[in-house]
């Protein structure tokens, strides 16, 4: 044990999903000495959309055009929802700052400040979201204007059918047209993967070939929709070059996860945070955590998939942002749901029979989604009496109880706003 190195930090963020990444962004902005740890970021499953608040109440499936009004109503109806721990201007600031970080990280977002935007999904449904990657914005405009539009897919790219998207949207958008093409740069396998296609389009010659293949089919199309494969590192350059070649607005439609926009987002955030001095321990996990007599936490860190400690971290505070079951922030056993690291109390239904509805798509969602950590106004996990368990342990993101981000369409907003709240509470604690 003696040769294991101990690192020190003011703040350690556990989790590299949206909440963890957002927390790290806010921490760097506040010049907090930060370590971030996580395995397999959930961001690669992201569509790239930033949802803020779309549906409330979920059982009546009421859809809101103005996310801020939706949040007002939500807070009035559900005072335990994590959004209710923040004032609305704080949520606005959090969103604005995160979108500014993304701008600085060269992954710009587009949005209407007080309005949700409709976007196209790979199954041809239309979804409400708040902010949209720049590469997808022309699609939201096309969908709204319903102008003549060509959607292209490629032989070998599975689960992305232009015909399906056009068929699904045709009733509201008669001028949408599908086209299937052979991708100009295919490898030996018939299977095409979005990441491989995106890399191929970083090469200018491939873009010219693609444009040549599409051009004869444009006819009167004002815009062109493609699967999200327009470049891995330089999406702006790839898209604008194709726009120049074809003379129409071009937009991406996300593919099913893990998608290129998700990977772009993850890589951009990692680069941005590393450049800002956050010590990122990727593919590492916390094996155990313990509070010392001085109040600081000691964390032992190991490789993903190993139980052997490689280093220790002594940290003033921790933000727990490990997500739910996929993120391993929570663990569901046959008898109950646990928080595995600090063994924090988990709000949950009385028994497993109540976890899931008989209908997977039941409008009111599954009760297990409401399970998680209960917190005080300083984002600290609390006990049954509502008292914080540790004064310097905070939690953010989907690990929090009393929300259903999947049904409420508030995933990114919840992650970003609660991360902002947790960092702010940490700052307040250190200032006192």
């Amino acid at each position: 044990m003696t040769n294991i190195k101990t690192n020190h930090a003011q703040l350690t963020i556990i989790g590299t999903g949206m909440a963890g990444m957002a927390a790290a962004c806010f921490a760097t902005q506040n010049r907090i000495n930060t370590i971030q740890i996580g395995v397999n970021s959930g961001i690669i499953y992201s569509s790239g959309f930033l949802d803020l608040m779309g549906i409330h109440p979920i059982d009546t499936q009421l859809t809101w055009n103005n996310p801020w009004q939706a949040i007002d109503q939500l807070i009035a109806d559900s005072p335990n929802h994590p959004y209710a721990r923040l004032r609305k201007p704080e949520i606005e600031t959090a969103m604005k700052q995160f979108i500014d970080f993304m701008e600085a990280a060269e992954r710009p977002y587009m949005f209407n400040k007080n309005q949700n935007t409709e976007v196209i999904t790979p199954v041809g449904t239309v979804k409400q979201t708040y902010a949209v990657p720049r590469s997808m914005w022309a699609g939201t405009v096309a969908l709204k204007e319903r102008h003549s539009c060509l959607i292209v897919d490629f032989v070998g790219l599975k689960a992305f059918s232009a015909k399906q998207i056009a068929d699904m949207l045709m009733p509201r958008w008669p001028k949408i047209r599908p086209l299937r093409l052979t991708f100009p740069a295919v490898g030996a396998s018939a299977d095409l993967y979005p990441e491989q296609m995106a890399r191929a389009l970083e090469v200018e010659a491939n873009r010219i070939k693609l444009a040549d293949a599409i051009r004869p089919h444009l006819v009167d199309a004002k815009s062109l929709g493609l699967p999200a494969i327009l470049g891995m590192y330089n999406p702006h350059q790839v898209r604008t070059h194709l726009e120049e070649l074809l003379g129409v607005d071009i937009f991406e439609i996300p593919t099913i996860p893990p998608s290129v926009p998700g990977i772009r987002l993850k890589e951009a955030l990692e680069e941005f945070l590393a450049a800002k001095g956050v010590r990122l321990l990727l593919q590492k996990r916390v094996l155990f955590a313990k509070q010392q007599k001085n109040g600081k936490f000691i964390l032992s860190i190991g490789n993903h998939g190993s139980d052997k400690a490689e280093q220790m971290i002594e940290t003033d505070s921790v933000i727990l942002a490990g997500g739910r079951f996929l993120g391993m922030g929570l663990y569901a056993g046959r008898k109950k749901i646990q928080e595995p690291l600090f063994n924090l109390p988990v709000f949950q239904p009385q028994d497993r029979a109540q976890w899931h509805q008989a209908d997977f798509f039941a409008p009111r969602g599954h009760q297990i989604s409401q399970a998680g950590l209960e917190i005080d106004d300083s984002f600290r996990p609390t006990d049954a009496a509502g008292k914080p368990i540790y004064k310097n342990l905070f939690a953010a993101g989907s690990i929090l109880a009393h929300q259903d981000w999947m049904r409420q369409k508030c995933g990114a907003g919840l992650a970003i706003a609660t991360a902002y709240g947790a960092v702010k509470a940490f700052k307040k604690l250190t200032a006192s």
């Binding site: 859809t63 199954v123 041809g124 068929d167």
Partner: protein, 525 residues
């Protein structure tokens, strides 16, 4: 416009019995149409252990059934070897089990003339290491496992090749009678909404647990008890042999291996209605806890699916455990109810499906003046080319051996390629032009891997649009109903790794695609 068809025999019900009758009759040269309100094996034929009984399970309480099982077991091993795995079986008792029952078991078997061979405990433990250390007795019997999906697919495929017409999603809504004779039967296609009328010389009701409802529609009476049984599929195979608990039939007392998995069950719960036949968390927990006393590893193993079926048991209003009700079958000539051309066959069990079909076909032939004898005792059930995608393990083997370089894997868990989907869709009876993911699922391994349909439903839906087999917003309802069908089997087993998978599925299908907000036009449940 209403379609009309004409046939000699109309068979209602696409389970083992109905498809068995279809094959038996077509082999005798009789013209048949088989109609099914959902798809093959929608009832108990698709929700059982897949156990080819030696008969030993029934020696103590139903010796007649035991003998029927013994004979059919031997016959099917000869006739349908591709559907059967000759695993052998064990009856084992653990500490605390009724020792008198253990002591009497051999003599029960002898009385029924069933081979039963006592085994040394150490020997049994060596053969089946998963057995509990508390095992106190073991007997070897001639149990085997049978793949009910392959069996039924082979029967119906063979019958179709011989000219039988098979209509899926076609629900009987009305019997049109003149005097004491059924002239025609009206059907409604539940997915397309189309109506159809079939004229037949004779109508056979082979609808299992639904036999009472269908008979009532014709104005006849069948008295059935509904006994719900729940079963669990393990992620990997637990034993080589069928393992039976050596005690009077009870909960979770049989573990049947099949290919790479094992099936554990069952419970017995009296039901008043056939609605909402789904497993519950309480049943699952009970099965796991009970099963673990026989094989302790069943406590911690990963389960991939739970499902429930309804045993149609004969005789009304019995007292006590439904397992004591006879497992024999009942062939009813409704001439007794003043309907001249209507027959019901129900009760029984998978092991005796062929015998039930033979007896039914004999009666049908007798009534319509056909003298051709039964052939299913002699003509083997050969694996048809068309059914191969349903066989576990076929897809990956086939893929690795050779595949067209332009073929794509649409189900990556079970390695089902685009070409397989294309082929399966071609076999569907194109009468109603209806292509459905659940139907493809019955004829292949899609949705049965670790993603439980999360990804393959999306890939196959896109493919079906590209082939113009789906259009407009049908895709959304297809994904919806396929995911919900898989969900039925997952919901009670969501702890550990499967709960992670379920979360990803909800994040994608609801969080991202918003499919919960789509109007669901699918009417099939």
């Amino acid at each position: 416009m209403k379609n009309n068809l004409k046939t000699q025999v109309l068979i209602i019900g696409g389970g083992a019995t109905g498809t068995g009758i279809a094959r038996d009759l077509t082999l005798r040269g009789v013209k048949c149409i088989l109609v099914e309100k959902k798809d093959i094996n929608a009832g108990a034929s698709g929700a059982n252990h897949g156990l080819l009984h030696s008969g030993a399970r029934y020696v103590s309480n139903d010796p007649e059934s035991a003998k029927e099982c013994r004979d059919e077991n031997r016959l099917l091993k000869q006739l349908a070897p591709d559907c059967i795995e000759e695993t052998g079986g064990l009856f084992v008792a653990v500490e605390g089990d009724d020792e008198k029952f253990v002591a009497d078991f051999q003599s029960y078997c002898d009385k029924a003339d069933l081979p039963c061979c006592p085994m040394d405990i150490a020997e049994a433990k060596e053969a089946e290491p998963a057995l509990s250390d508390k095992t106190i007795a073991a007997f070897a019997v001639e149990d085997a496992s049978v793949d009910p999906f392959k069996l039924v697919l082979e029967n119906i495929t063979d019958a179709q090749k011989l000219g039988c017409k098979f209509l899926r999603h076609s629900k009987v809504v009305k019997f049109n009678k003149t005097g004491n004779t059924i002239e025609s039967v009206d059907l409604l296609n539940k997915t397309t909404g189309k109506e159809l009328s079939i004229e037949a010389d004779i109508v056979v009701n082979a609808t299992g647990a639904w036999a009472g409802q269908v008979a009532a529609l014709a104005g006849a009476d069948i008295d059935l008890i509904y006994s719900k049984g729940t079963l669990l599929i393990t992620h990997s195979r637990v034993s080589q042999r069928v393992i039976n608990r050596l005690r009077p039939p009870g909960d979770a007392d049989i573990l049947v291996p099949g290919g790479t998995v094992s099936i554990l069950g069952t419970t017995s719960l009296r039901m008043d209605s056939l609605n909402k036949i789904r497993p519950t968390v309480a049943e699952v927990d009970r099965i796991v806890d009970e099963g673990a006393t026989m094989m302790p590893g069943l406590e911690s193993t990963r389960y991939i699916r739970a499902y429930s079926g309804v045993r149609p048991l004969l005789g009304g209003g019995g007292k006590g455990d439904d397992r004591s009700v006879t497992r024999g079958f009942d062939l009813v000539d409704h001439a007794k109810d003043n309907i001249e051309n209507f027959i019901t066959i129900t009760g029984g069990k998978l092991t005796t499906y062929r015998l039930m079909a033979e007896k039914t076909a004999d009666l049908v032939c007798n009534r319509i003046g056909v003298s051709a004898p039964c052939q299913t005792r002699n003509i083997p059930l050969i694996s048809a080319h068309e059914t191969r995608w349903a066989v576990p393990g076929f897809s990956p083997k086939n893929w690795f051996k050779s595949h067209d370089k332009n073929d794509l894997l649409l189900c990556e868990c079970e390695m089902v390629p685009q070409s397989a989907i294309e082929e399966i869709v071609d076999y569907f009876d194109i009468f109603d032009q209806q292509v459905d993911l659940k139907g493809i699922g019955k004829r292949s391994r899609i949705g049965k891997g670790s993603c439980q349909g999360n990804f393959c439903s999306l890939r196959i839906t896109s493919f079906l649009y590209d082939r113009v087999l789906l259009s407009a917003n049908q895709g959304a309802s297809e994904i919806h109903s396929f995911i919900n069908e898989r969900w039925k089997g997952q919901r009670c087993l969501l702890w550990g790794a499967p709960v992670v998978q379920a979360e990803l599925q909800e994040a994608m299908h609801c969080g991202f695609f918003g499919l919960e907000l789509q109007p669901n036009s699918s009417t099939s449940s």
